[in-house]
């Protein structure tokens, strides 16, 4: 098998998404599906699979970007204790809808990835924790699991290997926090989604106190092309530590919202403006701002989004999106790419996020439980013309006191969008405070947010 990497549009996950009937086992199989699982189970041992995933450089696609192979290698293997793979399909970060697409249109690719990963980790009972609202997708997955089972790819003694594996779909019930892996585990045990204090990490004590690996849907699906082509070949796609392809879910004020598979060498500008991807800003408007990796990552004004503070082109990969740190950069996060046009209000947008995090805080840690509520109230005052200048500093102070002071990253996730909005759009907040009446009739507009950034010489 040969691969042509000169083609920019390399598709490893979504290549077959539009094949008629690909949701059904026989069509997926006819298209070469489950060949990789056969290869893995019949010709490779679990250690060899883990090794390939390590070599691939695959980074967790849920948001944190932690190397997947390394996470797998931490899994404890005490004698006589069952281990579990749990797939995080709780996709709830605003702006993110890529896993849904993968599960809905390519359920068998996902199941094949789960099978290979379960074999590699020694999980005889694997769980898909899917957000409760994706009810129809849970049904699609259950159908696909039943098909795979009837064809001998799940159940007892798979392909004569002696390996048994069942996959169960477990529906959540509406709680963003359950995307955090220890909250997800608590929820899978039938409890409130309160994150656990780490350590111990799930790799040592996870679900039912057994060693557990929690991986995102896209991470699991990527295991199929990695095993198919080999980790080294996979690592040649992309750039630096951003190997392979990444699913981006693009939304907001663009012409073509949707899910796109990119190899991480394209520029942000190309992603937004080329017809292959977002197709430019809708209704002939101009780009004002963007949150490139889901609601919790820092918002950037147009000028810092397209170019780094050093004046270099910004690319769609982990390193380039975070170039400049939080001062002038952002993050790849979950790949939830939210675009704001010139008519949008950054204060309003930040308010909806603050409301979201207040709603989703589990309430365990006071900085998050109380702080998210205060931030929402203050932002509401500013947005609706009742703000004071001192409120902006107060907001800054509150987010600083949440960040780093909570058990789980929800606190940081709630703090960062507020911090970045003030950092880059402070004059829009001030304009709201100084023009309480006018701000109820019109928005601040594009202002200077797309002007070229001054690059210091030397």
């Amino acid at each position: 098998m040969t691969f042509d990497f000169s083609n920019m549009g390399v598709k490893l996950l979504l290549e077959k998404a539009h094949v008629e009937g690909i949701r059904r086992f026989e069509v997926y199989r006819r298209e070469g599906g489950y060949n990789t699982a056969e290869k893995a189970i019949k010709t490779m041992g679990p250690e060899a699979i883990v090794e390939e995933v390590k070599k691939s450089g695959l980074r967790g696609r849920g948001g944190a970007g932690f190397p997947a192979g390394m996470k797998w290698s931490f899994l404890a293997k005490p004698d006589g204790v069952p281990r579990h793979l749990v797939c995080n399909a709780d996709e709830s970060e605003p702006g993110t809808f890529k896993d849904r697409y993968l599960m809905e249109f390519l359920p068998h690719l996902f199941i094949e990835g789960l099978l290979i990963s379960s074999f590699a980790l020694g999980s005889n009972a694997t769980y898909i924790y899917i957000r409760g609202e994706y009810a129809w997708i849970a049904e699609i997955l259950e159908t696909a699991i039943a098909e795979a089972r009837s064809q001998g790819f799940l159940g007892k003694n798979i392909l004569g290997s002696g390996f048994d594996c069942e996959i169960y779909v477990h529906r959540g019930a509406g709680a963003y926090i359950c995307g955090e892996e220890t909250a997800l585990i608590e929820s899978l045990e039938g409890k409130r989604g309160n994150p656990r204090i780490k350590p111990p990490f799930p790799a040592i004590q996870g679900v039912w106190m057994r060693p557990t690996v929690v991986n995102n849907v896209e991470t699991i699906a990527a295991v199929v092309p990695i095993i198919n082509m080999g980790g080294e070949e996979y690592a040649k796609i992309g750039v630096g530590k951003s190997t392979g392809t990444k699913l981006m879910s693009a939304c907001g004020n663009i012409n073509k919202p949707g899910v796109y598979e990119i190899d991480m060498t394209i520029s942000v500008e190309e992603f937004i403006f080329s017809d292959e991807y977002c197709g430019g800003i809708a209704n002939g408007k101009r780009l004002k701002a963007c949150i490139p990796g889901g609601s919790s990552v820092p918002i950037l004004p147009a000028n810092l989004l397209l170019k780094t503070a050093k004046g270099e082109t910004r690319y769609m990969n982990y390193e380039s999106l975070s170039d400049g740190g939080f001062a002038t950069g952002s993050m790849m996060g979950s790949g939830g790419f939210i675009v704001l046009d010139e008519d949008q209000c950054v204060v309003k947008n930040t308010l909806t996020f603050a409301r979201f995090y207040r709603h989703e805080s589990c309430g365990q840690c006071s900085p998050c439980r109380e702080g998210t509520g205060w931030m929402e109230k203050i932002l509401k005052n500013i947005e609706y013309g009742n703000g004071k200048m001192s409120d902006i500093d107060l907001l800054w102070d509150i987010q600083r006191k949440i960040e780093g002071n909570t058990i789980c990253p929800l606190g940081d996730a709630a703090a960062w969008p507020v911090a970045a909005a003030i950092r880059h759009f402070r004059d829009e907040f001030e304009w709201h405070v100084l023009n309480p009446d006018e701000s109820q009739k019109r928005n601040y507009g594009l202002a200077h947010y797309a002007d070229p950034v001054h690059v210091p010489v030397g």
Binding site: P82, S92, A135, Y176, G190
Partner: protein, 166 residues
């Protein structure tokens, strides 16, 4: 006390079988979904006590879970619940207008149910359909790319449905 039919009890047993022996509490979230579907779309304390009995756990263990997750309704709701997303990406695509329009059309505010018990309007946080905004959840489906015309036809569809299945 509430009682499930044999079919539903079999479904509950099947769900319990997904988890290791003695870990039947893990079935709580999925079983509460089943219980809610079988009880007119909400969970009364009787229903929750019954679920506790089925799973051999304490009633408080069910209450603390039912009150934590947003999909469990602890009060009766309309037959058709419009759960409209209001988070950032949907806001950018005009969900505020859609929420106001539904409210005006049905004569209710978010959180309220129409007098005939047919419709409940609820604003919710991100449902993972940001690229297809504005959107709402209606039962087990998503209705996406909402416009005023689409809202009209969804309301008509529900009314017709209710008339046929009365």
């Amino acid at each position: 006390m509430a009682k499930f039919s044999d079919d539903i009890l079999a479904k509950v047993q099947e769900i319990i079988s997904h988890y290791p022996e003695g870990k039947q509490k893990s079935a709580l979230l999925p079983v509460l979904h089943v219980a809610q579907d079988a009880s007119g779309g909400w969970l009364s304390s009787d229903t929750m006590d019954y679920v506790a009995e089925l799973l051999q756990i304490k009633p408080i263990e069910v209450y603390e879970v039912a009150t934590f997750y947003s999909m469990y309704n602890l009060k009766p709701v309309g037959r058709y619940m419009f759960e409209v997303c209001q988070t950032g990406p949907c806001m950018l695509r005009g969900c505020d207008d859609i929420i106001a329009y539904i409210g005006q059309k049905l004569g209710i505010k978010p959180g309220e149910t129409t007098a005939d018990g047919l419709f409940t309007l609820k604003t919710v946080e991100c449902l993972g359909a940001c690229g297809y905004a504005p959107m709402m959840q209606l039962g087990k489906t998503y209705r996406e790319h909402l416009t005023k015309e689409k809202v009209d036809s969804i309301i008509d569809e529900c009314r017709k449905n209710a008339a046929v299945n009365n």
